[in-house]
Amino acid sequence: MESNKLLIAGKYYVSRLLVGTGKYKDFEETQKAIGESGAEIVTVAIRRTNIGQDAKQKSLLDFIPKEKYTYLPNTAGCYSKDEAIRTLRLARELLDGHNLVKLEVLGDPNTLYPNVVETIEAAKTLIKEGFDVMVYTSDDPIIAKQLEDIGCCAIMPLASLIGSGMGILNPHNLEIIIDNAKVPIIVDAGVGTASDAVIAMELGCDGVLMNTAIAAANDPVLMAQAMKKAIESGRDAFLAGRMEKKFYQATPSSPTSGLIK
């Protein structure tokens, strides 16, 4: 059934967990954790290659094969629209014409908070050039809607600062964004542990993108398994529809009649 699959830029994905490939101890751990996460979409960064490197040095592609995963090149470290556009043009060449990209334009090196003005401008150019843009943004509902109107194929608001693990700081903003959106809303950044991922999915997010929460766990492989279950549980709970909250009003679950007197 495709109705419970995640549709991004015309392609269906079974997993609603998207993962980064950074910060792992080594490529073996990257491979194992990502394998256990069940993720189909993995983000990668685009960087200068080392000149004169060891010929035996392994590359990420050896461990996370392009045939098995959908690569999502990012623009991490870009602080202007021009840097971001340049990076993604190179990424498209590198990945043989692959159009699905993650756009992020940062505004400040300490908070890594997105510069939404530059992000919007970069998105316009990239979409004109045929890119399918998944966009990292703040949890501002107006900006999220503008990015959707421009033609971004997924809106990815932060839960909290990148790599902070502080969880979902403003669930109500995320709800407003979700309620107004016709494209997938994927929480990107700030998830710290499994319960954060569950909450994001219960709010009605279409997916969660994370890196540090898994890579910086004491046992990344076990955390990857936990996150897979969290995303599935949260999604199922959302689809099931939670019970109504009754404040200060208890309701017994057992029959009130037939009590032994």
């Binding site: 950074g22 990012n74 190179l90 994370m210």
Partner: protein, 67 residues
């Protein structure tokens, strides 16, 4: 000639060199890379016919782990 590759200065005895030959000289081991030559992306099909001259700037990028 002197060229700039990924911000490093590289010297060659020759006056010019094809991009495909330069890639061999640099002993790039990554299976996949993309090249920007003086600000323009060069597709793989054009590596042989692209001649690198003194003062040229190259950026050679790969995919690395990132979030």
């Amino acid at each position: 000639m002197k060229i700039h590759v990924n911000g490093l200065q590289k010297y060659f005895e020759v006056e010019q060199i094809s991009l495909s030959k330069l890639i061999e000289e640099l002993a790039l081991t990554e299976k996949k890379f993309a090249i920007e030559y003086n600000g323009e992306i060069i597709s793989k099909g054009n590596f042989t016919q692209t001649l690198i001259k003194d003062g040229d700037k190259l950026e050679i990028v790969v995919a690395v782990g990132g979030g």
